[in-house]
Assembly symmetry: C2
Homo-oligomer: 314 residues x 2
């Protein structure tokens, strides 16, 4: 797998632009005062399907010629990526097969069904997911859309940082959470091309700190059955993703579960926008390390806003 070039990212942006929202960038006087610097929030919670995942999924799916889409697309995910693959497939006129663990929340099953995708349930283990996915590919000829470990996903997610820099070319820092690393690697890579003076910082729950540990040791390590309220980040960082992160990320900060909940509540209360726990990881990292951001311009990616409203942590 090759690291995407600037040209790949630009072509991704052109390819997906009519299928995604150019999300607004918000500010909050309260947060600026708390930090002592300027903070800009790129609101991917207002993106289609409520998360940045629509960028990468659209980039893969739309990169196939119509005649190559006839067998549809398949992925295993119970989260935002599943919705993104379902919607992007629908828009492309293709069938989507989504493998989900039986115990996925009803609201996520409903969201995927609403986009017309076919759900296959499996045991809630990694092995069962992969097996179910392989079975569908064999039976249908569907093309797999990996949630993060794919240069086309990375190039697609990179368009978010690209838009950010187009509107705010003088950011000192950019912060995003890291899970599998599609957005994290994409953002760092985009900055390295279009704004190398902007430092990329990642935020990770201490409970799922495989990227932090890999970054510090220089050696890719995974994480087993992690538990965190940041349900979008419960995966180990991908190999290609980590290669890019190792090269282009400035620092990784870890945050605790209560800090994530507090940050989420703060944004809800003060900015009146709904962010999901995974996004709050980045906000918590900002607040926990605010000394670094005093007097600076910091761009923070609000990655998504999909939250189960009847199971809030407050």
């Amino acid at each position: 797998m090759e690291i995407p070039s600037l040209s790949d990212i630009k072509r991704a942006h052109t390819r997906i632009t009519k299928y995604i929202v150019r999300t607004p960038i918000m500010t909050s006087q309260t947060i600026n005062e708390m930090v002592g610097g300027e903070v800009f929030f790129k609101c991917e919670n207002f993106q289609k399907v409520g998360a940045f995942k629509m960028r990468g999924a659209s980039n893969i799916i739309m990169s196939y010629r119509p005649e190559d889409r006839v067998n549809g697309f398949v992925t295993h995910s119970s989260g935002n990526h599943a919705q993104a693959v379902a919607l992007a497939s629908k828009v492309a006129g293709a069938k989507a097969y989504i493998v989900m663990p039986e115990n996925a929340p009803q609201v996520k099953k409903d969201a995927v069904k609403e986009y017309g995708a076919e759900i296959t349930f499996c045991e809630p283990t990694e092995e069962a997911r992969v097996a179910a996915c392989a079975k569908i590919m064999n039976e249908t000829g569907a093309i797999q859309v990996h949630p993060f470990h794919d240069p086309r996903i990375i190039a697609g997610q990179a368009t978010c940082a690209k838009e950010f820099i187009e509107e705010y070319p003088d950011l000192d820092f950019m912060i995003s959470p890291v899970g599998g690393g599609g957005l994290a690697a994409g953002s760092a890579l985009a900055l390295s091309y279009v704004s190398p003076t902007t430092k990329m910082i990642l935020a990770e729950p201490s409970n799922v700190d495989d990227t932090y540990r890999s970054f510090k040791s220089g050696k890719l390590v995974g994480v087993d059955s992690p538990e965190s309220i940041a349900d979008g980040l419960l995966v180990s960082v991908g190999k290609l993703n980590f290669e890019i992160i190792k090269e282009h990320v400035s620092e990784i900060y870890r945050v605790e579960e209560q800090e994530i909940v507090d940050a989420m509540r703060l944004i809800w209360e003060r900015m009146k926008v709904i962010i999901e726990p995974s996004s709050a990881v980045a906000v918590a990292a900002l607040l926990k390390n605010k000394k670094q951001f005093v007097g600076k311009k910091t761009g923070l990616i609000i990655t998504g806003g999909n939250v189960q409203l009847d199971a809030l942590p407050f």
Copy 2:
């Protein structure tokens, strides 16, 4: 009391413009599809203090010369208006006295205190509030800022519809909730001046339908100890406000409590923005009467986003 002129509204806008946020206008494909028409949301939940109330309060307070502000301002309210008077006074360098019932939620007491206002607690009755307010005026010389029954408040709240029409001059309808009628009358009045072809529609909880009954009978009637989740609308419409509403409002729709909760949840889930129950009243009226809005352009004022997150109705 005189009905504000267009010139009054324009001067209000000039006067307050640097103290308020020119709030963004959002759209939602989901809502457009549900309605079968185009709906535009003016997001006053992103306004200072999280509600449109900042407009009217600023207009009154900033209309006094600095030397006339020395004794401060007083109001009785436990809601968004209290926060608006507190913040506008602070910005004006004046003292704010807020009369609140003892049983007001802690979060509202804290918000007002944060703006440096002095709180006087009283029994949770209308008489006690008025008496406490009068006492403060006598003792301090503070100027009262009524939450809705004042032409300067109406002119201030009218600036929201004015901004709306400046950006979307071809709205067929505008919808706002109605409580005391500051925003409702202000919006209807602004439309009558700057966009007389836009029909003003009000939304009211069935549980607090004094404006509806007044509108239908042509005679101002009040409401006693109303109960509704729409805590910003638990007051009877003002006399001057009703005069304007009677003249310039096209229709008033009533909605039930469950419809308010459902509409609130819908906006949270689909638009990822936090709206308070009073705003959801307008959304519920839109959805309940959607036939009227098919193929039309409708502007809806999201009045505020102040919600107690640990006491949600879902």
